[in-house]
């Protein structure tokens, strides 16, 4: 049984059936990619996993517990971290402060009215944040306002923020979308490194086949709101149904 | 029954004033994405266009009438308007009498000019600034504008009557088979209502059926794409600002016979019109109009004696109460789009 079990999930928006009947199981400590053409329902599925949307039917179990109806912050506290398509960071805050926030959230929970502690004197948190920044090779940038980072660094920061929480499941929503090739490769390397060094499950939604095939251990292909096929990358590459439904339409995707 | 018909009538009339102001605010917000707290001031300036024109028409030469005395016992100075000299007293009187409707012609170019000047001179620099900054700078501008008007026209309300032809009221009751004197309504308010309806309809028609309007609507939806098409959307938006100013100004001109204008009438309407816009849904033109009429009618019902005996003080808070309820049940107002002004 996988760490994340999605059973019979369906979601309608008015007349549009965004998700039909999705079944998905993600094995612990694997990298699982979800691919599919535009409008296949990838983002809707992701939003159902993190609490942004509530599916009309079916169930989503994380580590044996249902996440349905929980708020995003509650799901995060269970151990699911999400990386957005465009990096979502705290632009007004310094890089170090950005990193401290998830550390606080991990240690102190969803709400702690600790208004009388000087945050910089909380050595545990500061050290933890500095440590993660070091891992991300961003130590020398920790006093910069996050908004002034390059796109690639923002992505690194965001991934670092998620990792600092030591999540059991890391969800990545097209992590290299809109990136230059060099940045994309850097990100792939970073993710590979994460995969190798940590015990972590990664689910990745991606358009870029290069990314998918460099990282994924299993791939689910989504089309018109239903999973078409699920298999290893090698099998997917040659799968006729996939070519028809997906690769056929986006010839330059790979 | 009669009481209810009467309050619906009242509400429609009140609502037409709200709707006109809210329409202008929404035009500016929808096209330019700017929250204009000086919009009430534009309404007020419109009203003062009417005051100014009636003063210009009444510019007089002074003659001394020895047969009468003034309060100090000196010979009375009598003002004779120049229009009497030019057109004779009868025609002159008619012109003075019709000053308010004439002001419409006078106000349109002035308001458009003020609007364009405001956009080019000030608002333009605030497109990329946070909404809070826009609110604050236009609020500052509103204070400045109203103080300037106060400096020249004083703080007291200035009577600006409607033409004599519109004095008195129309007896709906008698016309539709109720008892006479029960459902009466002043002619000028009927004029105001029709005027508002025409303005609202023309703004909608303009946006719907002209190329200019279509481009502007497209720009409201997606500014960058329209700009990529090589259309100079900025100039059109400037004109839209002028148009919104003119709508506010005309609402002000026609309002003068209903309430004598004073320098702070804009501020009196400002909070209310923002409530209307937000209840309607930020950026939605039909929403603004709908909310204007809705709040006008609800306000009228809340002022009924029968209602007030049960809920004293309801008339004090009805607008705000409705705003709270609507915003809590419909998060983006009646017809608002998602993601507008929520940051």
């Amino acid at each position: 049984m996988g760490i994340l079990e999605v059973k019979n999930v369906g979601k309608r928006f008015g007349g549009l059936q965004a998700l039909g009947d999705v079944n998905l199981s993600i094995t612990e400590n694997s990298v699982h990619a979800i691919i599919g053409p535009n409008g296949a329902g990838k983002s809707t599925l992701l939003n159902c996993l993190v609490g942004k949307l509530i599916p009309d039917t079916g169930s989503v179990m994380f580590d044996g517990k249902s996440v349905l109806g929980l708020k995003p912050f509650e799901i995060n506290q269970m151990g699911i971290s999400r990386v957005f398509q465009t990096p979502e960071i705290f632009g007004d805050l310094s890089v170090l402060e950005n990193m401290m926030i998830p550390c606080f959230a991990k240690r102190d929970g969803a709400f702690t009215p600790n208004a009388f502690i000087n945050m910089m004197k909380d050595r545990e948190i500061v050290e933890r944040a500095e440590h993660v920044l070091e891992e991300m090779n961003m130590s020398e940038k920790q006093q910069m306002p996050a908004a002034s980072l390059s796109r690639g660094d923002k992505r690194r920061l965001e991934i670092g923020m998620c990792l600092s929480q030591e999540p059991r499941l890391l969800l990545l929503d097209e992590p290299t979308a809109g990136m230059a090739r060099a940045d994309t490769n850097n990100t792939i390397d970073l993710l590979k490194q994460i995969k190798d060094e940590r015990e972590i499950t990664i689910a990745i939604i991606e358009h870029d086949m290069h990314v998918v095939f460099s990282l994924a251990e299993r791939i689910t292909v989504l089309a018109q709101g239903t999973p078409l096929v699920e298999d290893t990358p090698d099998n997917i590459k040659g799968h006729p149904k996939v070519r028809e439904a997906y690769l056929g339409e986006t010839q330059d995707a790979a | 029954m009669e009481a209810i018909i009467l309050q619906v009538l009242n509400g429609l009339d009140k609502g037409s004033a709200y709707a006109l102001i809210a329409l202008g605010l929404t035009l500016i917000f929808g096209t330019l994405g700017v929250v204009n707290f000086a919009h009430g001031a534009l309404f007020m300036i419109g009203a003062f266009c009417a005051v100014t024109l009636s003063r210009i028409i009444s510019i007089s030469r002074t003659i001394i009438d020895d047969s009468q005395t003034d309060f100090l016992g000196n010979p009375l100075k009598v003002d004779v308007p120049y229009v009497y000299d030019w057109f004779g007293q009868a025609t002159g009187d008619v012109i003075i009498d019709w000053a308010v409707p004439l002001s419409i012609l006078f106000a349109i170019p002035i308001m458009v000019a003020i609007g364009v000047a405001m956009e080019r001179g000030l608002i333009k620099h605030f497109y990329k600034r946070p909404h809070a900054d826009q609110i604050l700078v236009t609020f500052g501008l509103a204070i400045v504008l109203q103080e300037i008007i106060k400096y020249f026209y004083g703080a007291n309300p200035i009577p600006t009557p409607a033409p004599d032809a519109f004095r008195g009221s129309f007896d709906f009751g008698a016309a539709f088979g109720f008892d006479p004197n029960v459902i009466i309504y002043p002619y000028w308010r009927l004029v105001y209502f029709s005027f508002a309806a025409v303005i609202i309809a023309s703004v909608f028609a303009f946006l719907q059926f002209t190329t200019f309007g279509m481009v502007v609507r497209a720009g409201m939806a997606d500014r960058e794409t329209v700009q990529l098409l090589g259309i100079n959307i900025d100039r059109r938006f400037t004109l839209m600002f002028g148009m919104a100013a003119a709508v506010a100004g005309l609402a002000g001109v026609m309002y003068t016979p209903i309430n004598s204008p004073n320098y702070h009438m804009g501020m009196d309407f400002l909070v209310l019109s923002f409530v209307v816009v937000v209840v309607g849904g930020m950026g939605s033109l039909p929403g603004a109009v709908l909310a204007g009429f809705l709040l006008g009618i609800l306000e009228s019902f809340a002022s009924m004696r029968e209602v007030l005996t049960i809920l004293p003080g309801l008339n004090q808070i009805i607008i705000y109460l409705v705003a709270i309820i609507i915003l809590l049940t419909r998060p983006r107002g009646l017809m608002g789009r998602k993601g507008v002004m929520e940051d």
Binding site: - | A155, N156, I158, V182, N259, N315
Partner: protein
Amino acid sequence: MSKINLTRRSVLQTGAITGAGLALPTYLSAASHSGFTNAPTGDTVTLGFNVPQTGPYADEGADELRAYKLAVDHLNGGGDGGLMNTFSSKALQGNGILGKKVEFVTGDTQTKSDAARASARSMIEKDGAVMITGGSSSGVAVAVQALCQEAGIIFMAGLTHSNDTTGKDKKANGFRHFFNSYMSGAALAPILADNYGKDRKAYHLTADYNWGYTTEEAVRTSTEAMGWETVAAVKTPLTQTDFSSYIAPVLQSGADVLVLNHYGGNMVNSLTNAVQFGLREKQVNGKNFEIIVPLYSRLMAKGAGANVKGIFGSANWHWSLQDEGSKAFVKSFGTKYGFPPSQAAHTTYVQTLLYADAVERAGSFNPCAVGEALSDFQFDGMGNGPTLYRGADHQCFKDVLVVKGKENPTSEFDLLEIVEITPTSQVTYDASIFGGELGACNPGA
């Protein structure tokens, strides 16, 4: 022109020990030896004129300020002396007050009690004013009066019409020359009965705050005593601008008189709206429909324009009065400013003179001495006939004017005509009916 505006402190300085610290714990910076707040020690005395200079009553405030300046001018021996010539008390010499030249400071009340108190406190604490006067609303008058009581300063109220000022909120250090709601009702009722008959049905629209309540109460009580019936009374919010939804149901109610217990902008708008609805052309119960505005102000009537024609109301004073006092005041004011004074100007001018006169007669600026001199003081020649400053509540009792909007005004100032001068006896009431406690006078320090 250069007027030197010395303050009390500059006066202190002249006789002060240079360099060394003269330190005295005091309340609101009083000069300790005199025994009362802000005792003038040099050859000048400072008065505080606290009027609305911004906000809807700014024009009224400006007129009050004109009157104050005129009064100061007259007290210091300038101009034609104005009402000092007709005033029954001859204590004032035109050489300032007690030989001290009168100086003044001005402030802006904004018609808000907080701002009015801030401004009054700055006059007391910073400028050393020994008397504060002014105001254009009862909220402000009551608030500033309470402050002056606390600080040990005399407060000479300006335009305030609520019963509360000298009723439930009266204070020993506060004095009001202006009339009140009760007097308006008492003066109006008989005239209304004479003109409109005793069988009338009245519909009240009342501003929803203290002044509105007391005015409605006063007019209701006195008209009902004449045989009128009150059909309904509806409260309207202060912030209302369009009164149509309140006016439209009036005809349905079977009422044949509409009483607008509104003041200022409310009055202008509600009256304009009522006339627009053509109420005055209607016939109800076989009678002409009538509108009444209990408290008239000429400045505000101007805002309503032709709509005031033929509408009854009451006033404290009007420039067309023909007694010697009124004529003298209109002449002084009109000569200096070019137009006739408003009733707000009149009451503030008279208050200033009354204060100065009381100081002269008491021989001291001490508020308690001044208060005593004003209490139960009877005078004449100030434009309202023989007048009594009643000691029990510090309210002036004098003739009240019933006025009517003029049908054919000859100028923009000639809007009202006097219908009746109601004699004092008819508007006098027992000092205890409104409750409240005058307390003892407070000299501060």
